[in-house]
């Protein structure tokens, strides 16, 4: 399966974007987000970017006030996911120009479009920023 979910959460623990690639009920999502946010946000800069949770792993990265948390299977390549997060951020940067929490909040749909171009069915589809952003730019022009 690979990627099970992508979460963006601010440092107060508020969810800014949630995309799941396996179906969870609302209760399961709430519980899961609560648990992993508690676990990950309590960690400091000197600690590693991987947290084991239940039967999978969270690979996470912090950018200013925003945390990107990606849930993956245990045998997933952790560093590849870690850099995939960065690729996502760079892609958003290219589109928004120095992306911040507010951009994602108020352009939820665009954040979703970008993620949708990058991940599908838990697998990486595209890693070229130009290709990822092409449909969005097309729409902006229209």
């Amino acid at each position: 399966m690979g990627i099970r979910f992508v979460l963006m959460v601010n440092k107060q623990g508020q969810t800014r974007l949630a995309q799941y690639y396996e179906y969870l009920t609302l209760e399961e999502r709430r519980a899961l987000e609560g648990e992993i946010v508690r676990k990950c946000l309590a960690r400091n800069e000197q600690q590693c970017s991987f947290v084991e949770h239940r039967n999978y792993k969270i690979v996470y990265r912090r950018y200013a006030s925003l945390f990107f948390l990606v849930g993956v299977d245990n045998d997933e390549n952790e560093l590849a996911i870690l850099e995939f997060i960065h690729l996502l951020v760079e892609t958003m940067d290219r589109h928004f120009g120095n992306v911040c929490e507010l951009d994602i909040m108020f352009h939820l749909e665009k954040a979703h479009f970008m993620l949708e171009e990058m991940v599908m069915n838990g697998c990486i589809v595209e890693t070229s920023k130009a290709n990822i952003l092409a449909p969005i730019q097309l729409m902006d022009k229209a």
Binding site: E83, M120, I124
Partner: protein
Amino acid sequence: MALSGMRGLSVFISDIRNCQNKEQERLRVDKELGNVRTRFKNEKGLSPYEKKKYVWKMLYIYMLGYDVDFGHMEAVSLISAPKYPEKQVGYIVTACLLNENHDFLRLAINTVRNDIIGRNETFQCLALTMVGNIGGREFAESLAPDVQKLLISSSCRPLVRKKAALCLLRLFRKNPDVVNVDGWADRMAQLLDERDLGVLTSSMSLLVALVANNHEAYWSSLPKCVKTLERLARNQDIPQEYTYYGIPSPWLQVKTMRALQYFPTIEDPNTRRALFEVLQRILMGTDVVKNVNKNNASHAVLFEALALVMHLDAEKEMMSQCVALLGKFIAVREPNIRYLGLENMSRMLLVTDVQDIIKRHQAQIITSLKDPDISIRRRALDLLYGMCDITNAKDIVEELLQYLSTAEFAMREELSLKAAILAEKFAPDLSWYVDVILQLIDKAGDFVSDDIWFRVVQFVTNNEDLQPYAAAKAREYLDKPAIHETMVKVSAYLLGEFGHLLARRPGCSPKEIFSIIHEKLPTVSSFTVSILLSTYAKILMHTQPPDPELQNQIWAIFNKYESCIDAEIQQRAVEYHAMSRKGAALMDILAEMPKFPERQSALIKKAEDTEVDTAELSAIRLRAQQQTSSALVVTDQRPANGTPSNTQLGLVKIPSMSSNVDHNLPDQDISHENGTLSIVDPQPPSADLLVDLLGPLAIEGPPSSDVQSQPNIVPGFEDAPNAAEATAIVPVGEQANSVQPIGNIAERFHALCLKDSGVLYEDPNIQIGIKAEWRAHQGRLVLFLGNKNTGPLVSVQAIILPPSYLKMELSLVPETIPPRAQVQCPLEVVNLRPSRDVAVLDFSYKFGIDMVNVKLRLPVVLNKFLQPIPVSAEEFFPQWRSLSGPPLKLQVVRGVRPMPLLDMANLLNNLRLMVCSGLDPNPNNLVASTSFYSESTRAMLCLVRIETDPADRTQLRMTVASGDPTLTFELKEFIKEQLVSIPTVSRAPTPAPPVPQPTSPVAALTDPGAMLAGLL
């Protein structure tokens, strides 16, 4: 700004953002939901724009964690909107809100299909993405051919094809048949020639899923993967857009190497060479650089390469290169790399034999056990657990114990379980094992499960050497001011059983032991109280001559609990009270617990059973499977007197077969708590731990009134093992088999020691029967190998590992046993000289993917070469007198299981020692004679005399005489083992083996265990 597109949405989001607390947020959300609901309900003519806005609001609210139970239809209906913006929202929001089983989704199938086969690329992409994310079985059935067509179409643009690849992956997972079309494997291989990196990345993910499911079909893709890897890693033949910090798509490199790990091996030498060249380049060429992102990306590739090298079982040189790299990684400061170094070292342990090299890093790994980061500590713990063996067990377990005091709660349970398992598996000596477990209980009692202390009791009971030590230790812990209840349980049990062994030590008189245990009684649970009562009864029994003061004290306690509301306690109090007033009868009933039968460690089983899916525990599983063989390796335990084969106290082995050991502790707990007076199954159903530990004292079976009329009842016999167990040093069943045997192998062996045909081994695939004939010092056995399956068993191998005293010749065993066929393999045996060692059959076969290997003791034992002969008084006495003194005549005085004389006579007859009645003038004595046959001794007369004491059936003197010192010694030991402990009963409800084997009632009767069971 772009939010001008949907002003209402932005306003709503700002409102939410400005909420001061969760309550305000909820109110605002409720208001909005009400608003959206009315809009959807009342206004028929919502514009697509409005619909879009509301649907986004719903998604936003859903993301915040509020239930949105309406409006799904509106979201789905947007899918059929003619314009891209609305359609896009429809697809995306539908994929977020609905799951594959949602009814509305079915309504959209046709629209989705039209979009997929339509000419609008952007619509195609949207539809493929949604199906790829949430498509179910119905989608798979109706859309798969269209999706396949798009994926391989040459007229389709990459942006559509890459989505088609992952969409097909989803459909394949829903219904694997969608790729079972002719020529698909070739198409797949062709796909890997793709130049576009997006399509290639997606196709590689598809390939990984297909190969993981069935690698055989996709061999032709293997060289393509290697080519792709060469293209990326070596030639860097890739558009600029796809390099990431100068590294050619690290994600595609990783995925490609992952795909390669699903092929079991690479046969073509050229492909293999090419791949190793690339891998070597990655291993050597990855340097640590300043830029974090570049560093991470290159190490992502490096770690995947390491995994692939391990998988391919590369040459030794490359392997040690890998270990060296990992050794470097676990020492760096950068936490991510250190974490991954530890993780991959654990994985490496599982695939290759690098334990020795990894051990060099032990100190470094222990440092990581103290790291402030719990993720790293977990990896270190897992690795230490994996690398532990007999050479480093002491160090590692002591580290774990030390860490236990400071570890956070989240890790304590895992830590204690792991420490307990390691201590058990690799104890250099048993007293160390006892020390470790007691420390564990002391430091983390809450996390020490019952299994752990049950296990200590088993070891102590089965090893006489250990008993005084364990009792003394338990006594010491009782002096500590506040001890955990588990410590009370284990100490009380040990002191009840073995406290008398400390009799002369200070502070260890029965009275003192009693009073220090009794101090704890007010603070313990009722379950523990019942253990304490048993302990008191045992103390009373061991206090000879009785101490009236102690007696009165204890009786007073029994008296008090006779009206206890807890039925279990009440029953014990009543019974112990009644019995302890009977004086001598108490001795028989409360005699020392019999040894426990061998069984798989409940801990290891537990580790195997619990949380199969967590990473660390699945690692335990694998290790456990690999290592069960070495379970409790005890170092040199030779007695000082130099009789080399006297291993009576010897090794306790933990058989790795989980066989029929069935611990249903909860049930047991319930029955104890209910205090049902007759939980009692006259044949305790299994070797259940709790039954063993607590049952016999709880006097199962007849209600208490009957007990008094049957002073000879000796409960617990059913589970007593055969002492021969302890002498067969062969670690029976040291296999890591996935196929579990049916029935208890040890019991089958013991049964066959007393009869000449029966089943030696059985599992779901095969049954091995045995039939034997004996003539003097020669024997002829036939092994019946019966294939129970409809498929053949292949790679069948049977190797006999004979001890030096036997000459054994096994006829050729065919390599394949056809389905449902039985093969007979004769085995010729010649007995060279007397010995109690046991021959072992190392048997292996392969069925499907299961490789099974078992080591089975063969029932070619000393008594098979005996021929009972009657002797008259005239023959006996001259012989007896002529064989005078050691080494030809040996005596042994033993505390044995009390057994009526008649039973003992039957036992001897079953062992082919003929009891000659009337020879000995004393009716309490037995005299038996037999001939032993071996090549060195020829026929040799053996005489046995057993003198018993009617007043104390636990004492006897046995004298064995023969013309050969070795024979005398071996025979004496052999009989002693039979007398000291009672052979295992073949339990009544064992499934009747369907082999060509006469399970006649006669056979059952000749089994002394069965006889004993009958007597009970």
